[in-house]
Symmetry: C2
Subunit: 316 residues, 2 copies
């Protein structure tokens, strides 16, 4: 059983990550922090609480977090990818969420005290909330068991730019603070998430399920439309849920060297790049003294099928 | 037959590139420009002329080029990789080279007039000489048929830093000028050169040959020592000769999309990175309008065997 605090910018693929974390018997989901990114933070809160309500898990606290990046610049969102509502334009924008009376950073700090050494933070949006928590409490890493992020790209191009993946690109300064902090981290980046593909077959199985599964099928319809421009066919990378799955051991990794990762916080063309020092690749990745960043490069395939099975249980 | 001007910082693997270009029946080697990088420019000139003299090709003009990077900073060399003499500490430092009475940039411009539209420039060192030629004559790209470089890394780490490959890292500003210039370019980077491996078997075949082949075996001995720290075994990437081979069609490429490449000239952690916009990889690399940079990602194996065969002909 893995105790998980999820931090997300819900978001279509975030929705699947939330359902995975909330429905799996192997995960104790103790809270969800929200931030901006795929959509604005209020929409992310609404979508998150809506999903948890749909599956009878409104007991999980949902906290509102950062509305924009650390450096104070104006946040940008991705309606072309996730819809104006972060739910493929088929979300319930009338839903009134119940929001925790603490910020996402405060939720993280509180849960780190309640689950010292065992809390696994899984962050699948910009890393602003984690950075704010680190700034507020420098001792936080001592109490966090592990941090797994969906973000970055080690040996593949980015997606927002040729160099940068969206979650890191949204707030490189926050990401660098998170990579610098003295906790153990796992990076689930585009190297594996763009190779963990949700297909029309998966979507058809969801569409034939109950209301929760059907909701997933509808939001994926929008997501697949966007990805058709990326991949040439109707499908999508299963980004955020894969990070949850790796964190909880639902997906075995088959190549994940522990190396140094640095985030490019320059304002040059590589801004937001996760520079993973994988020079050891030519010698089968020898151990790197002092390294703390596990970069997932290969996983066992097949999680998407099991994820669909899991989501279908929500309506049973 | 490919008309080639080679620009190099000779250098152990440069030596093999020079021999490949000078010995192949399919290449008309019309000049060699020298620059600093693996060693200082004067040593590069000496090594280049020494090699050409050894094989009876002192007719090929050898021009001295830039002694350091465009931005005027102090050049750095790589004696730990190439020896203090750029020839594994077994070079002939008493050799007095015959040097052309024109600079490497002037040689390039002159040859572009003599072979308009057919000159293939193969640059396997820092790109300073090419940048200087572009600055001196903006019409140069109109007369150059193609530029192939050994340099950069698209989907692999760098070698000098986690981000940057040595030839680009030495002079990112020059490299960016070369990538920006309106000519067709092919980038033969670490993606393929670190997978084109010279082994002890190759070296043994050279050691059993005549004086030229034996010289190659001796310099490779030093190179293999360095690479043992990179790969865990005695071998080396066949960097520079591979660029010559790709340029002359001696090695078929099996995956080489034409995309946009930008050089990171920031002073951040990605300085010297070749940012290849390979986002089309998820859709089997659709054509990119306006792109001019062919990035070699996969080649047919087997060139190293043929290169050894070719070098052995020098002593026959």
């Amino acid at each position: 059983m893995t105790t998980i605090l999820l931090d997300c910018d819900t978001g279509i693929d975030d929705a699947l990550a939330i359902l995975t974390a909330a429905l799996s018997d192997e995960i104790d989901l103790v809270g969800v922090g929200c931030t901006w990114g795929n959509t604005d933070v209020d929409q992310a809160v609404r979508n998150t609480h809506h999903l948890l309500s749909m599956i009878g898990r409104a007991d999980v606290p949902v906290a509102r977090g950062a509305a924009g990046p650390l450096d104070g610049t104006t946040p940008t969102f991705s309606p072309h990818v996730h819809g104006d509502d972060g739910a493929g334009n088929v979300g319930d924008i009338s839903h009134v969420p119940v929001v925790a009376d603490e910020s996402a950073a405060e939720l993280l700090i509180r849960l780190s005290h309640e689950h010292p050494g065992t809390l696994h933070v899984v962050a699948v949006g910009p890393l602003t909330n984690l950075a704010l928590a680190l700034q507020a409490d420098r001792s936080l890493p001592e109490r966090v068991g592990h941090v797994t992020i969906m973000g970055g790209a080690a040996l593949t191009p980015g997606n927002v730019t040729a160099a940068a993946e969206a979650n890191i690109w949204h707030d490189p300064e926050a990401a660098q603070l998170v990579f610098e902090a003295p906790w153990e981290m796992t990076m689930v980046g585009l190297d594996v998430t763009m190779r963990s593909i949700l297909t029309e077959e998966h979507r058809a199985r969801l569409a034939a399920g109950g209301p929760v599964a059907q909701h997933c099928a509808r939001i994926l319809d929008y997501y697949f439309n966007f990805y058709t421009g990326i991949t040439g066919r109707r499908c999508a990378g299963n980004h955020d849920a894969l990070a949850v799955a790796v964190a909880a051991g639902l997906v075995p990794t088959t190549l994940s060297p522990v190396v140094h990762v640095e985030v490019d916080t320059s304002h040059g063309p590589s801004r937001g790049r996760t520079i993973a020092d994988l020079r050891g690749m030519w010698a089968d990745h020898p151990q790197v003294p002092g390294a703390r960043h596990r970069v997932v490069l290969e996983i066992e395939p097949g999680f998407e099928d099991r994820m669909v099975d899991l989501i279908l249980t929500a309506d049973q």
